[in-house]
Subunit: 128 residues, 2 copies
DNA sequence: TTTACGCCTTCCATCGGCGGGAAGGTCAAG
DNA sequence: CTTGACCTTCCCGCCGATGGAAGGCGTAAA
């Protein structure tokens, strides 16, 4: 299976698939003409990565998940730990964003938003 | 004022300050020896940018805020619009993260997290 | 005077996670 | 034989810095 078909089968751009090979995430065989040749397992792993990425796992985390996937003797606790760590990261990011939103919202509320130049948002940014 | 002092005064790394000059955000004068020479206004603008960045504004948005800051005839509505747009972006990001969190959380809940290899998280990622 | 040290300069490379596009090889259909 | 779709490698760009090398400048002490 050529890279184009693999791209259609996994819903990943060709560029991304090549990149994943470059960083050693999913390494296809090569046909005699030099074309990448994706077997079912490769496609399966690409889809695995695609899903993990869409869930917010970084490339390195995907690499770990893949190796856990490959490891028949893995402990499900290891996968769960990775997932819980990810949830923790998301929670921290959520807190940060909520705090930012509150600050911006407070600033926006105090601003008339009319044609006059007086603006508490700018004043706040420019405070000494 | 040399870049080191400006860095201390603004709580920005020297590298970042040089970067801001490179992209034309804050352009200091130069002393005879070629050293960057930051006046009070420059330092003030750097702090302005530092605050705007910490509120989640992009570099380009900071550039706009600076030009609004410089414009004595600005309309506060323009600043407010930028801020509201930023709040909208944050809301979209919040929704996305909440959704991700729910998915991961659901997966983690179904996983025993013990020493056995059976793992619904992996199974879900590997589903055909 | 020399040495040491800290600050400054420019330039180049790197990160993540790709995307765009050039230049050229390969393959199947008409 | 040509067309057009596919494939290859290669290099550059994005954002927002950050790290490091190589070398100049400034001051103080030995």
């Amino acid at each position: 299976m050529n890279i184009g078909s693999a791209a259609r089968a996994t819903d990943l751009p060709r560029k991304t698939i090549r990149y994943y090979e470059e960083i050693g995430l999913v390494r296809p065989a090569r046909a005699d003409n030099g074309y990448r040749d994706y077997c079912d397992t490769d496609v399966h792993r690409l889809r695995f990565v695609q899903r993990a990425r869409s869930l917010g796992f970084s490339i390195e985390e995907c690499r770990m998940l893949l190796s856990l996937y490959d490891d028949e003797h893995r402990a499900s606790a290891d996968v769960k730990a990775l997932t819980l760590e990810k949830i923790g990261q998301i929670d921290r990011k959520l807190d940060e964003l909520k705090s930012l939103r509150a600050t911006l919202s407070r600033l926006a509320d105090t601003c008339q938003g009319d044609g006059r130049p007086d603006c508490p948002i700018i004043s706040d940014l420019a405070r000494t």
